[in-house]
Symmetry: C2
Subunit: 375 residues, 2 copies
Amino acid sequence: MSKKVAAFLNDRRPPTPFLVLDLGIVESNFKALRKAMPDSRIYYAVKANPAPEILTLLARQGACFDAASVPEIEMALAAGAGPERISYGNTIKKEVDIARAYELGVRMFAFDSAAELDKLSQAAPASRVFCRILTSNEGADWPLSRKFGCDPAMAYELLRIAPSKGVVPYGLSFHVGSQQRDPKQWDNALKTTAELFQRLKVDGVQLQMVNLGGGFPTRYRQEVPSPRVYARTIHKALLTHFGNSIPDTVIEPGRALVGSAGVIHSEVVLISKKSATDEKRWVFLDIGKFGGLAETMDEAIQYPIVSARNGRPEPVILAGPTCDSMDVLYERADYRLPNDLKVGDRLEIRATGAYTTTYASVAFNGFQPLAAYYI
Amino acid sequence: MSKKVAAFLNDRRPPTPFLVLDLGIVESNFKALRKAMPDSRIYYAVKANPAPEILTLLARQGACFDAASVPEIEMALAAGAGPERISYGNTIKKEVDIARAYELGVRMFAFDSAAELDKLSQAAPASRVFCRILTSNEGADWPLSRKFGCDPAMAYELLRIAPSKGVVPYGLSFHVGSQQRDPKQWDNALKTTAELFQRLKVDGVQLQMVNLGGGFPTRYRQEVPSPRVYARTIHKALLTHFGNSIPDTVIEPGRALVGSAGVIHSEVVLISKKSATDEKRWVFLDIGKFGGLAETMDEAIQYPIVSARNGRPEPVILAGPTCDSMDVLYERADYRLPNDLKVGDRLEIRATGAYTTTYASVAFNGFQPLAAYYI
């Protein structure tokens, strides 16, 4: 814990649960990634944490922004980014929202279907459009379904006809899966991407950009490779598949920039057993799946959880405070907490700067959304 | 659709997505349940939908309230229910919250562990306490985990010592699982309950109340038995196990009162295929898992979804509008929509009055929480 955070906690003592996020860590994460991948433009995935403090910091650092909706575009603009630094990266947009983004000056849009290309043609003339392709998500802790992207043959067809629709076929994007711990996963996607570049070039369509997506990890319970390892592996794949004509590249990190900057402070509400012979303790916290820890779904993202006590670590089942039985955080993931843990103790749930505050429900069970402090 | 709802939609034309809930249906659901189970006190599970309009209506009808938190207690009080009509039904409570509820006049509390009994002893002296026991959840569409309840031997022990802790051992509760379509599931739990009543009586502890929990279903895609069938089956089980000394009974319906009263109106944002040879269309709506349809998790709750078009129904995959790939509603559940469905069409997602508004995230992807109109 930095001195700044320690001082804040000591001065303010906010009631739990709350997130405290150290903006200095966001800045150093950004700088480390920019240093590792100096040739890629960084579009911060606003959805990971849209706090104005974060957006303003990143805008000042020169970041670009990947927005999922018009409100996210407006937040990026309010933080000081010009519209030329904003990509409307959601492939599922109402035409009225595309028109609004266009009116705000945004000229870069994602799509993955004929119907969406038609909407862009109508509502965002002469904009740069990039097509998302389906890729494998092996190795990702939060793998993506087939929801986004189309197969390469369809991407080829749509980009080929894009000029006739009055938009600029700008490039391709893919996503190797969130919290992707295997940097080699980019290689396969880049192979497909390079083939599409080549085929389209033959047809007179010169793409300029590859959007390498997100997927860059945060360290949770397991060690992850450093940004430099990702950079090197991706650069090698670009060289292999594009040779001496490497296109412009874009990356869309979210959790890699903000995840490690945040810590949720929670109080132990109850410790119990279900029978006298139960081996595991149930430990109930004042935050759960509906209060911001939605990514514990299927125990996918495993946050480090830390107690200040020194007792022997023994197995626990961790659950949230709502009357919803789905609100169990970790039952199979072998979490251990000190055997002298007490009701009322404080726990730190670390690496919770991404995908927490905005996932919180408005008021499920009457509990307030997650309070957050950006310092 | 009632005339009242039709008139509202015609006059107001709110932007999608939104929930419109017909309070008249809540009232008739309440009356039907009260008529079917005249001997049970009805504690409405506030968490299902805490809209003040619903709470006020039910308070006027004489309902009691099952609250999960202090804010829910305050909402029930604000709606006109006295504290004697409120049960603090969450088994996971901070002592400070128990104290606050006690201060507000609440004298009925759930627990399922020694630590929680100690908190009640400290913060809610002389209150009536009931212990929740673990039961099987076979037949439930939204089965509960082992999160709530303790085994009967532990319940026996805790209720036996309750008087020495300065609280009144009032009764037992159990929950057969939400959206429980098999009324016979109450029988097994009542057998265990009656045995505990008997054992405790021998020790001089005379319990008075059985809380039969919730679980009463709403009709989604599948037909469900009527309240009268549940009433008859449960009454028979009570007679079998308690003979001529049937205790006071309490039920805690949530979705059974409000589910069928609500309809979410959504717009089709995009219809696409992932490849030229794909058989199923992907249909993307402007509401998804994070906008209020959290109970589509694992495709557990299957809402009827209706289009006004007449084309031949053909298979679709339904998904929400966020950039989160988990935001897929139904992929395996064989939903079909007309083959002439168009982008911009309105869809009705029916039976969505329960567990929707408060499950909505605060602003995931920049999307606003679910708007709701109670008429």
